[in-house]
C-alpha cells in the first residue's frame, strides 16, 4: 500500500517541453512511472520521450487515461495551469515549480479544494511510492519499498532521509515532499492523516524546519490522534533572524516561526526528535522493533 500514488497512477506532465520538464519526464519514465501525456499550449502533436504532447489538459484527457498532473510550468503561469488541470477534472496535482507568488498559491489551493482536488506543493520534489510510481525530481535509486512514510518540507532532506533509511535496509511506503513555501496545498496534519490510514505504513518520519506553525499543529495531532510512531528531524537551528534560509517559508522573526516553539510542541507531545540525520535511522529502527 501507499498514499496518493501507486501503480494505477496515470500522469500528464504540464510543461513537458521545457528544459526541466523534458529531462524529468525521462527520469520518471525510467523509474517506471506511467506518463500517458504531456501538455504545452501550442506544441500539440509533438512528442517528448515518445510521450504524446497536447495543447491542453482537456484534449489530453480526451485521448489518454490520466488521473494525476505534475507541473513543471513557469511560476508566472502556475495558477492558470493548475486551474486548467482542475477544470479538466483532475483530482491530484503535484506542483514542482518554485518561486510562485504566495497570493497565487493561496488561490490555487482554494480553487483546488473547492473542486475536490488535492494539491501537493508548490516547491516540492514531488511524491514517490518506491517501485511503483515516481512523480517529481528525486533521485530514484535512494528510495526503496518498505514500511516507512516520509513527509518533508525539503527535497534534499527527503533524499537524505530516504537514502539513509534505504542504506540501513529500511524501505518506504511513500515519500511526500510537502513543499518549502509559506502556503502549501496539503499540509503536515493532512499528510499525517493519510499515512495514519495506510495500513502498510508503520512509522512516519517528518522533516520540519523554521517558519510557520505546521509543526506545532502536527504535534497536537500526533498526540491526540496518531496511532503509529512519528519521528521528526528539524532543520534551521542555526539561522539569521529575518533571513529566508533558501525556502520562502523558512524564516523566523522574534517568536514568530521560531524553532523553540516547534521543539517545545514536539517534546510536549512526546514525539522523538532526531538530533542528526544519522540518528533518524536509529529512531526509526527502534520504533519498528517496538
Amino acid at each position: 500500500m501507499s498514499i496518493l500514488i501507486d501503480e494505477k497512477t496515470r500522469v500528464v506532465v504540464q510543461g513537458i517541453t521545457g528544459r526541466i520538464g523534458a529531462i524529468q519526464t525521462m527520469h520518471m519514465l525510467k523509474a517506471g512511472t506511467k506518463i500517458t501525456a504531456g501538455v504545452t499550449p501550442g506544441r500539440g502533436g509533438s512528442r517528448v520521450e515518445d510521450v504524446p504532447v497536447y495543447d491542453s489538459v482537456e484534449e489530453a484527457m480526451g485521448e489518454q487515461e490520466i488521473n494525476t498532473s505534475v507541473l513543471f510550468v513557469p511560476a508566472a503561469v502556475a495558477e492558470e495551469s493548475c486551474v486548467e488541470a482542475v477544470d479538466a477534472g483532475l483530482k491530484l496535482l503535484i506542483l514542482i515549480t518554485e518561486h510562485i507568488p504566495t497570493h497565487d498559491t493561496m488561490r490555487i489551493r482554494a480553487y483546488a479544494r473547492s473542486q475536490g482536488a488535492r494539491l501537493i506543493g508548490p516547491t516540492t520534489p514531488g511524491v514517490i511510492t518506491p517501485g511503483k510510481c515516481k512523480i517529481g525530481i528525486m533521485p530514484t535509486h535512494l528510495f526503496t519499498p518498505g514500511p516507512v512514510g516520509i513527509i518533508s518540507r525539503s527535497g534534499t532532506m527527503s533524499y537524505e532521509m530516504a537514502g539513509l533509511l534505504s542504506g540501513e535496509g529500511i524501505g518506504q511506503t511513500t515519500m511526500v515532499g510537502m513543499g518549502g513555501d509559506p502556503v502549501v496545498g496539503t499540509g503536515l496534519v493532512e499528510l499525517l492523516e493519510l499515512f495514519q490510514k495506510d495500513p502498510a505504513t508503520r512509522v512516519v518520519v517528518v522533516h520540519g524546519e523554521i517558519g510557520g506553525t505546521q509543526e506545532e499543529k502536527a504535534a497536537v495531532f500526533i498526540k491526540q490522534k496518531m496511532n503509529k510512531p512519528v519521528i521528526v528531524y528539524m532543520t534551521g537551528k542555526v539561522a539569521l533572524e529575518g533571513s529566508r534560509m533558501g525556502h520562502a517559508g523558512a524564516v523566523f522573526t522574534g517568536k514568530r516561526g521560531a524553532m523553540e516553539n516547534k521543539i517545545k510542541a514536539f517534546r510536549e507531545a512526546g514525539v522523538p526528535i532526531a538530533d542528526s540525520p544519522g540518528e533518524i535511522a536509529t529512531l526509526v529502527r527502534k520504533a519498528l522493533e517496538a
Binding site: 508566472a76 482554494a110 539561522a239
Partner: protein
C-alpha cells in the same frame, strides 16, 4: 522584501488611507528644518527594514525644531537589527483618542490571509493573537479578499459604533486592498490613530513584499537587490543563490535548502559555519564556479564543505565548476564534498581528479565528521 515605513506609507496613501504629514531627514539640521516648516510638535522614527516585533528604536516626540535636531542627532548612526540608521521619518504628532493595531499576515495552515485588529499591540504569534478576546480576526477569501462588511464587523467588535465603525471598517478594508494590490506577505498599521475629531490616520505602517511576486512589480524588483545589506548575500542573489552570512570559518555550499540548514546545524555542534548557501535547482558549471568564488571571499576560511544532491540538479556539471576554481585560484584550504544522486559516479570522478575530498556515504553527520578530521578538529 521589507519596505521602509515611509515607502509603505506611500503605497497606503495611493489607496486613499490618510497618513500624517511628514518627510524623511538624513541629518539633524534636516530634521530641524522639517519641524520648523511644520510648525508643530513632531514624531521622529528611525527608518530600518524591520517588521513589528523587531527592536527598531522607539518613536520620539520633539516639541521644537531644536529638540527635533537633538533627537535626530541621537538617533542617526545608531544600529538596530544589524542596520545603521541613516534616515529618519519626521512626522506631525497627532492627538490620540484611540490607537488601533491592524495586521494582515499569511496563515500557512489555513492557506488564507489572516486579518487581525486590536486596541492593543498584536502578538507576533498568530495563534496567540487570534485567541485573545481583545483581538478581532477573520480569514479572508483568497479570491474575493476581505469584504467591507467583514471589515465593519471587526470595527464593531472592537467597540466602535455608528460613523466611527464605518470609518474604521473603511480603513481596514483599504489596507487589505494595499495588501492584495502588492501581493504582500504582511501589511498593517502599528498603529492607526483615531483623533479626538474622529479622523483616522496611519501613524505607523509596515509592509513586506513577497520576493516571489516581484517579477510583477519591476520598480521594486530593481530595488530588492540593493536592499540586501550583506554584500556577499547581495552577490549571491545576483547569481541566483541564497547566501546567509554567519560568523564562523567553514564555508558551506549546498544544493538545497533543507540539506543546507541541516549542514550548518551539524557543523555548529563542534565548529562554526561561515555561511549558509543553497543553490536551488538548475545549477551549471559556471554557477558553481561563481558560488565557490563567492564563498571563498570571506576572510579567514579554514575549509569548504559541499553537500550536493543530484535530483533536479546536474551535480556532475556543478563539480566541474568547483574543481576549476580549486585549480585556477590555487585554493589551499581543505575542500570536502559529499555528492549523492543522479550522475554521482561522474561527479565523484571529476571532484577526486580535481583534488577535492569526496564523501560517498549519505548521512551528513558522517560527512561533517570527515570534514572535522581533515581540519584537525
Amino acid at each position: 522584501m521589507i519596505l521602509y515605513e515611509y515607502e509603505a506609507k506611500r503605497l497606503f496613501r495611493e489607496q486613499g488611507i490618510s497618513i500624517p504629514q511628514g518627510e524623511v531627514a538624513k541629518s539633524p539640521s534636516g530634521a530641524a528644518e522639517i519641524a520648523q516648516k511644520m510648525g508643530k510638535p513632531v514624531v521622529i522614527k528611525a527608518q530600518i527594514l524591520a517588521l513589528p516585533g523587531v527592536e527598531a528604536g522607539d518613536a520620539r516626540t520633539a516639541g521644537s525644531p531644536e529638540e527635533a535636531g537633538r533627537v535626530a542627532e541621537g538617533r542617526l548612526g545608531k544600529s538596530y537589527n544589524r542596520q545603521r540608521v541613516s534616515e529618519l521619518l519626521v512626522e506631525e504628532g497627532l492627538p490620540v483618542q484611540k490607537e488601533i493595531h491592524v495586521a494582515i499576515r499569511v496563515d500557512g495552515t489555513a492557506g488564507a490571509p489572516l486579518v487581525m485588529a486590536s486596541l492593543e499591540r498584536l502578538s507576533e504569534l498568530d495563534e496567540e493573537a487570534k485567541a485573545s478576546p481583545k483581538v478581532a480576526s477573520v480569514h479572508s477569501d483568497p479570491f474575493h479578499g476581505l469584504k467591507s462588511h467583514e471589515a465593519r464587523k471587526m470595527a464593531k467588535s472592537l467597540g466602535f459604533t455608528g460613523d466611527a465603525a464605518v470609518k474604521l471598517g473603511d480603513q481596514i478594508h483599504r489596507i487589505y486592498k494595499v495588501y492584495a494590490r502588492w501581493s504582500a506577505l504582511m501589511a498593517g498599521f502599528n498603529p492607526l490613530v483615531m483623533t479626538p475629531e474622529g479622523n483616522f490616520s496611519a501613524a505607523g505602517a509596515f509592509l513586506e513584499m513577497d520576493d516571489s511576486a516581484l517579477f510583477r512589480f519591476p520598480q521594486f524588483r530593481e530595488l530588492s537587490l540593493s536592499r540586501i545589506l550583506d554584500p556577499l548575500a547581495r552577490e549571491g542573489k545576483s547569481i541566483g543563490v541564497t547566501y546567509v552570512g554567519l560568523e564562523g570559518d567553514i564555508g558551506v555550499i549546498c544544493t538545497g535548502a533543507g540539506i543546507g540548514m541541516a549542514t550548518v546545524d551539524l557543523i555548529s555542534k563542534r565548529s562554526r559555519p561561515a555561511n549558509f548557501l543553497e543553490t536551488g535547482g538548475g545549477i551549471t558549471e559556471k554557477q558553481l564556479a561563481e558560488v565557490m568564488r563567492l564563498v571563498l571571499k570571506k576572510p579567514g576560511l579554514k575549509g569548504v564543505f559541499l553537500n550536493m544532491y543530484g535530483g533536479i540538479n546536474p551535480i556532475h556539471e556543478g563539480a566541474k565548476g568547483v574543481v576549476k576554481v580549486v585549480r585556477e585560484d590555487r585554493v589551499n584550504i581543505p575542500v570536502v564534498a559529499k555528492a549523492i544522486g543522479n550522475f554521482q559516479e561522474e561527479t565523484w570522478k571529476v571532484l577526486e581528479e580535481g583534488g577535492v575530498t569526496v564523501i560517498k556515504t549519505i548521512p551528513t553527520d558522517q560527512a561533517v565528521e570527515e570534514l572535522f578530521k581533515r581540519l584537525g578538529k
